[in-house]
């Protein structure tokens, strides 16, 4: 049952297959008994494929959203981790027959089980899902027609915890994921009538049709001999509809059907407004976070330069703690970790997370700048009868600001780019929107160029403004 456990029976090259163990059971998860190995029904299936090909399966960890791009690059031969069948997937890659039929189901809070039965009931409400999935596309289509507001997540655990916490009103995802979350955390209700059905497939590089055909032959054989059913039963995902689905596939040799959601392929022109909106979010987020960083940074620097030991100690701990841990972790803790105490809206959490992170770095710049002002300047202020606060405000501060300007500009440009990290807490900013765009059209070239152009258009004027100010002040 475990990948990599079967000894290589022949001299054939190993069968490299990619999946995302972060997605977890029942697809692919790290084996609790031996976290170096993976298990799940996708692992079982690759085992069967490997056996049929006389090749030893070797697992390659890859982020779920990157499976398709990665298989096309040749990082591995087969991508399998609950990959959904979609028309664009078939256009761009070689795709196996679907080996599992899932249902897109709606999860709501118990109190809403009567109110929100279908997507139509959720017009104007917040509905969460995993970004880049069929469910996400379906919700986007509905949103553009005045349906629910889509909230996109990078993982499939937090949509449900945020549903229970009241941050979203419903979650639309595969029944397997919904059932798993219900078992793990509970506290919500799954509507029995599915919104749509979809299928999991194995994805291969576009040119790899020969391997695809072999995989299809093996999958059909394992459907027929009950091996697949056995694995699905072991992972508690087998039901009567699956049995009906298998018999349909075995009767029909055309290769199965695709998630029956109607939507057009988005063009560059249709994506540009979304990219510009996302750029607006990036800019607004960065400006607010920088303002917070500057204000808190000045306060922290002043406290560390002027304060007593009692004031300095906690400020030093704050600065070192923030600088010594990843900003990604800080965002997670702020948004998810503290949600039991305070339920911050995503955008506010993003501003606070980035702002408080950068405040630690700004405070160090200001502290160094304050300490660089010669003592004689401060003493001159004292002999003139200025108070310490006036000396800071009128003499030391303004001179320190001139010294701090260049590093501050650097930090702001860095912040502009670091703001892309907040997509982990559901804020769709420029990079996230670009990734959605790229996933949809199946190429990073145009979206990547557009996104870079927008980032440059945002950051270059800043650097220029800083140079102008520096020149002006150095003449002074």
């Amino acid at each position: 049952m475990l990948a990599g456990c079967v000894p290589a029976s022949t001299g054939h090259a190993p069968l490299r297959w990619g999946g995302d163990a972060e997605g977890g059971a029942p697809f692919v998860e790290a084996d609790p008994a031996n976290p170096a190995k993976v298990r799940g029904f996708d692992v079982d299936i690759t085992q069967m494929i490997g056996h049929g090909l006389h090749r030893e399966p070797v697992f390659v960890q890859v982020a779920w959203a990157s499976i398709e791009a990665s298989v096309e690059r040749g990082d591995f031969s087969i991508g399998m981790s609950g990959v959904e069948d979609r028309p664009e997937l078939r256009q761009r890659h070689a795709v196996s027959i679907p080996y599992f039929e899932f249902r897109e189901v709606l999860a709501v809070r118990f109190t809403d089980s009567v109110r929100y039965r279908t997507l139509a009931d959720l017009a104007g409400r917040r509905v969460a899902t995993l970004g880049g999935t069929g469910a996400y596309q379906m919700l986007l289509d509905q949103q553009s027609r005045g349906g629910p507001i889509v909230v996109s997540y990078d993982d499939d655990v937090h949509p449900y915890s945020d549903l229970v916490a009241g941050r979203v009103d419903a979650v639309l995802l595969d029944n397997i994921i919904a059932d798993r979350s219900l078992r793990r955390t509970g506290g919500f209700y799954i509507q029995p009538v599915p919104v749509a059905t979809g299928h999991y497939v194995a994805v291969l590089a576009h040119a790899d049709t020969a391997l695809r055909d072999s995989v299809n032959t093996i999958l059909r054989a394992r459907m027929r001999d009950g091996s697949l059913e056995k694995s699905f039963r072991a992972w508690h995902v087998w039901d009567s509809s699956q049995a009906r689905y298998f018999s349909r596939v075995l009767a029909d040799s055309s290769g199965g059907r695709v998630l029956s959601v109607d939507r057009g392929v988005w063009s560059v022109r249709s994506y540009l407004p979304a990219l510009l909106r996302a750029a607006g979010i990036t800019l607004l987020l960065s400006c607010l976070a920088m303002m917070l960083a500057v204000l808190v940074g000045i306060a922290v620097a002043a406290g560390r330069v002027y304060g007593s030991a009692v004031v300095r100690a906690p400020l030093t701990i704050y600065v070192e703690l923030i600088r010594g841990t990843p900003v990604l972790l800080q965002l997670f803790v702020l948004y998810y970790g503290l949600s039991a105490l305070v339920r911050l809206p995503a955008f506010l959490a993003a501003v606070l997370g980035l702002g408080l992170n950068y405040a630690a770095y700004e405070s160090e710049i200001y502290r160094a700048a304050l300490q660089a002002i010669p003592r004689s300047q401060l003493e001159a202020g004292r002999t003139l009868g200025l108070s310490e606060v006036q000396i800071l405000r009128l003499v030391r501060g303004p001179q320190a600001l001139r010294l701090a300007l260049a590093p501050m500009t650097n930090d702001f440009v860095a912040l502009l780019k670091d703001s892309s990290l907040v997509s982990v807490i559901t804020v769709v900013e420029l990079t996230k929107q670009t990734a959605i765009y790229a996933t949809n059209i199946g190429s990073w070239v145009v979206p990547g160029l557009l996104c870079s152009a927008i980032y440059l258009a945002l950051s270059l004027p800043l650097s220029r403004l800083a140079r102008v100010l520096e020149r002006k002040w150095s003449h002074a």
Partner: protein
């Protein structure tokens, strides 16, 4: 007559080294007193103690009726009266680099004394005119020559109209011609009733412009009197050492 400055038996240490070992000195309104001595004699320490920038251990310092207490420098909130009475011109001019000449001079008037900007600027302009640098009002410190910067620093220190003006080595960055002109400016200030205490080792300058000279050596005043008495026919070893030293040297 009330002294503008009355220093009695002041002791001050820097670390384990006792820099001042019982200095007694006074300056009357309208008087220019030159505090002389070689490098390390304690001139700057004395000035910093009078301006409440540095501490002293014992003795008394009274400026225009305000008594400073021995021990650590008190917080600024307890020094308001002293700050009105004492102006200081630093050896390195320490003008505020980010402000124009006008703003340097008006800063204390507006923010410490609460004057309106108009009143402060007209006062500043009058002072800068007297000192011959009125044409530089909108210049920044780094655009000034050494002599101009010195006059602006004097204007800044004089703006709040202090009774006592302290000048630390005012001639060290000036050529001989500018030293003469600075001396004239200081004489005019004394004539207006200001008391001036000037730390210097510039013998020619002291001889030409001081009313009185006090020679500081090893932390005590070893000789005091008119410039002619002290500097022309001194018999004191420390004074003769001072007379032999070059009249310009780096700060102590």
């Amino acid at each position: 007559m009330t002294q503008a400055l009355d220093v009695r038996d002041v002791h001050a240490s820097r670390g384990a080294h006792e820099v001042l070992r019982g200095v007694t000195i006074d300056v009357a309104p309208g008087e220019i007193c030159a505090l002389m001595g070689t490098s390390g004699a304690g001139k700057t320490t004395m000035l910093r103690a009078i301006a409440a920038l540095g501490p002293f251990d014992s003795g008394s310092i009274v400026v225009d009726g305000f008594a400073l207490t021995p021990g650590p420098v008190p917080p600024e909130s307890k020094l308001r009266v002293l700050r009105r009475s004492v102006g200081m011109v630093f050896q390195a001019q320490s003008l505020f680099e980010h402000l124009t000449v006008m703003d340097n001079v008006t800063l204390a008037l507006v923010h410490a004394l609460g004057w309106t900007r108009e009143r402060a600027e007209s006062e500043a302009l009058a002072l800068l005119t007297t000192l011959g640098v009125a044409h530089r009002v909108s210049a920044y410190p780094r655009q000034l020559s050494g002599g101009e910067a010195q006059r602006v620093a004097i204007a800044r220190a004089l703006a709040p109209d202090p009774t006592l003006l302290l000048l630390d080595e005012p001639t060290s960055a000036l050529d001989p011609a500018r030293r003469g002109s600075l001396g004239e400016v200081l004489r005019a200030l004394a004539a207006e009733g200001h008391a001036l205490l000037i730390s210097t080792h510039d013998v020619d300058f002291a001889e030409a412009f001081a009313d009185r000279v006090a020679v500081l050596a090893n932390g005590v005043v070893v000789e005091e009197g008119s410039p002619r008495e002290v500097l022309s026919d001194s018999t004191h070893a420390d004074t003769r050492a001072l007379l032999r030293s070059p009249s310009t040297e780096p700060r102590e």
